[in-house]
């Protein structure tokens, strides 16, 4: 029996990113009118959790820190097969950076109590700091492995975890509890079935506020965040077209030389 917690972050659907804006005052993304999806790597983390549960039995709980409007995204996680969901939602959490988020998430995980594995995506599409999984592990004082591309449950509660490194991978034998963050290669998430959509409606989404977690106030929200956004801007991309003339070998040589000088990089 395994107790697996999956951290799911609702992020703006990449298909609609052309409509995303930046608010120069709050220095945040303007997400209004853009549908959310489960952060793609978090979805893979959930798939990995479901596969482990299918092999070993147990329970998969998703945990998310988001506004209440994220409920449909959590329901999607339940329709994929998670047993239940926890939504951490409180106006006080707004503006939390990776450290404050990790503190809130870790506190919620402690409150849940029983866990063997905590799975996350290696990074999120919107923030992309790749810090939260490691910081959750630190708050919980348990091991953390990143860039995980395979998880195999062995006998005697031991796991073989493959973690990608620059020119290969490490195979790590590790005992739970632990935090793992997964990469794209780990799996292809399942399709949600209509039957599971119906099942998901019967499953519970619990909402926990700051009060439910008895959090240390100076550690949460914008005020509790040591990293602050200094500025946000849209990079201006300028494209120039140039037509090379001459005979093919001459043009090829010119192009190669310019590429070599990284003129076009």
């Amino acid at each position: 029996m395994m107790h697996i917690i999956v951290c799911l972050k609702p992020v703006p659907d990449p298909k609609h990113w052309s409509r995303l804006g930046l608010d120069p005052d709050t220095k945040t993304l303007i997400r209004e009118g853009i549908p959310n999806v489960i952060n793609p790597l978090d979805r893979k983390a959930l798939e990995a959790a479901l596969q482990l549960r299918e092999e070993e039995g147990g329970e998969v709980i998703t945990i998310s820190m988001a506004p209440r409007s994220a409920m449909p995204t959590l329901r999607e996680g339940l329709a994929m097969g998670a047993n239940r969901s926890i939504l951490l939602s409180d106006p006080a959490f707004a503006g939390s950076d990776a450290l404050a988020t990790s503190y809130i998430m870790a506190t919620a995980i402690k409150k849940l109590g029983l866990y063997d594995l905590i799975l996350c995506g290696d990074q999120t599409l919107d923030g992309g700091t790749s810090l939260v999984s490691a910081q959750i592990a630190e708050f919980l004082d348990i091991p953390n492995l990143m860039h995980v591309s395979a998880i195999e449950a062995k006998k005697s509660r031991v796991f073989h975890v493959r973690s990608q490194i620059e020119h290969g991978y490490m195979l790590v034998e590790i005992k739970p509890p632990m935090v793992l963050s997964v990469v794209k290669e780990i799996n292809e998430p399942r399709y949600i079935t209509f039957m599971n959509i119906l099942e998901a409606e019967k499953k519970e989404i619990q909402i926990w506020s700051s009060q439910d977690l008895s959090l240390d106030e100076p550690w949460v929200g914008l005020k509790g965040s040591p990293s602050q956004m200094a500025d946000v801007f849209m990079p201006e991309v300028k494209r120039a077209r140039e037509i090379l003339l001459g005979d093919p070998s001459e043009m090829t040589r010119t192009l190669a030389e310019r590429l070599h000088r990284s003129e076009y990089c």
Binding site: P72, A79, F194, I197
Partner: protein, 380 residues
């Protein structure tokens, strides 16, 4: 009135869209080329629940209902309209069993249909024409424990891929002399005939069925003898027309996407053509056709789910959405200019697909007759 879709319906749309984009898109070129339905997808679509969406849970479906079915077909059609064309006829077979089958027939045929282990079809049209249901000549004569079927059916969707067909045949005189039979592919004297080579919806298989002294067990009579007309019409009105309208809805979605994308990307006089009024009027027309069609088609789904009779509304939705799809695709081609008639651009295929929806599942003219009869009776 509440026009907002539920969380359930939104999630269903999202999951079908993802499935269609990932699984169907890579197969579309082959479907266009060969005119073959990708039968290997049937089981996957069964596993997802698309095939059993209107099948009651006790017979292996989810029973999610008609609006859910419409949304699923629309999303599949947005990517490849041939797929929902095939599935909507598959659904017609499930509807025939659910509504008119006895318990034994339901137990035997519905679960494999819902799971995608078998494919089904409904065969009404004789070579003499589809609109003249009362004129069907395909005959079924009782001989002991069997009916002996003779005749031909044409323009039958899923003809060659189906494991059985619900066949309407003549057992007596006139409109009340029609009956429905479950004819399995392996029955002696029953076989698919020629495969049609359509201009559009190419990935949905269409062809003939031929019956030569084909013995059909009496137990394979669907409903009662003489109930064939009722079964055919109920199937067309309640499942076929909303199904075809959903295919058209899928086409309309794709047409709008293609038209907008092109209008924003194509530059003329140094600016995207989307800035030109002539283009904006076309875009507005396409958008209006999509939105009006969606309201009409969803209403039929809602009415069916609330057990409200919807003969006229179903005819209206079918006729309007299919014509709208043709109209919109033509406008999208105009927006594309010469690119629109090149095979590399999807709009030409969408027009060909839209053309096929117009006669399928009851012609536009018959649908107009239904509407006119209703309207003429309103102020008598």
């Amino acid at each position: 009135m509440d026009f907002k879709l539920t969380e359930r319906e939104e999630l269903l749309r999202k999951t079908v869209r993802e499935f269609a984009e990932k699984e169907i898109t890579p197969r579309m070129d082959a479907m266009e080329e060969t005119g073959e339905f990708p039968i290997e997808l049937l089981k996957k679509m069964g596993d997802m629940g698309i095939l059993g969406v209107i099948t009651p849970p006790e017979y292996g479906g989810t029973g999610m209902g008609n609006l859910a079915r419409i949304i699923a077909l629309e999303e599949l059609g947005r990517v490849c309209p041939a797929i929902p064309m095939a599935l909507q006829v598959h659904h017609m077979a499930t509807h025939a069993f659910s509504k008119f089958g006895n318990d034994e027939q339901k137990k035997k045929y519905l679960p494999p249909l819902a799971k995608g282990e078998t494919m089904g079809a409904v065969a009404v049209t004789d070579p003499s024409g589809g609109s003249d249901v009362a004129g069907i000549k395909t005959s079924a004569k009782l001989d002991g424990d069997h009916y002996i079927l003779n005749g031909r059916k044409c323009f039958i969707t899923n003809s060659h891929f189906s494991d059985f067909w619900v066949v309407i045949a003549r057992t007596g005189e006139g409109g009340r002399g029609l009956s429905a039979f479950i004819v399995e592919k392996g029955f002696p004297g029953a076989k698919p005939g020629r495969k049609e080579n359509k201009v559009g919806l190419r990935g949905a298989n269409t062809g003939e069925l031929v019956f030569q002294n084909c013995p059909v067990p009496k137990t394979n009579l669907l409903g009662h003898e003489g109930e064939g007309m009722n079964i055919a019409i109920s199937n067309i009105v309640e499942t076929g027309r909303p199904g075809m309208a959903s295919v058209a809805l899928g086409i309309l979605n794709a047409v709008l996407e293609q038209a907008v994308k092109f209008a924003n990307e194509r530059s003329l006089y140094g600016k995207p053509i989307a800035g030109l009024q002539a283009i904006q009027w076309h875009i507005a027309d396409i958008y209006a056709d999509l939105e009006i069609s969606r309201l009409l088609v969803y209403r039929v789904g809602w009415m069916r789910d609330n057990n409200i009779r919807c003969d006229t509304e179903s005819a209206l939705a079918k006729q309007f959405a299919c014509e709208a799809a043709r109209r919109a695709a033509e406008k999208a081609i105009e927006i594309h200019g010469s690119y629109g008639i090149m095979k590399e651009y999807p709009v030409q295929r969408l027009l060909r697909d839209a053309l096929v929806t117009i006669p399928a599942g009851g012609t536009g003219e018959i649908a107009k007759l239904v509407m006119a009869r209703h309207a003429l009776g309103m102020f008598k």
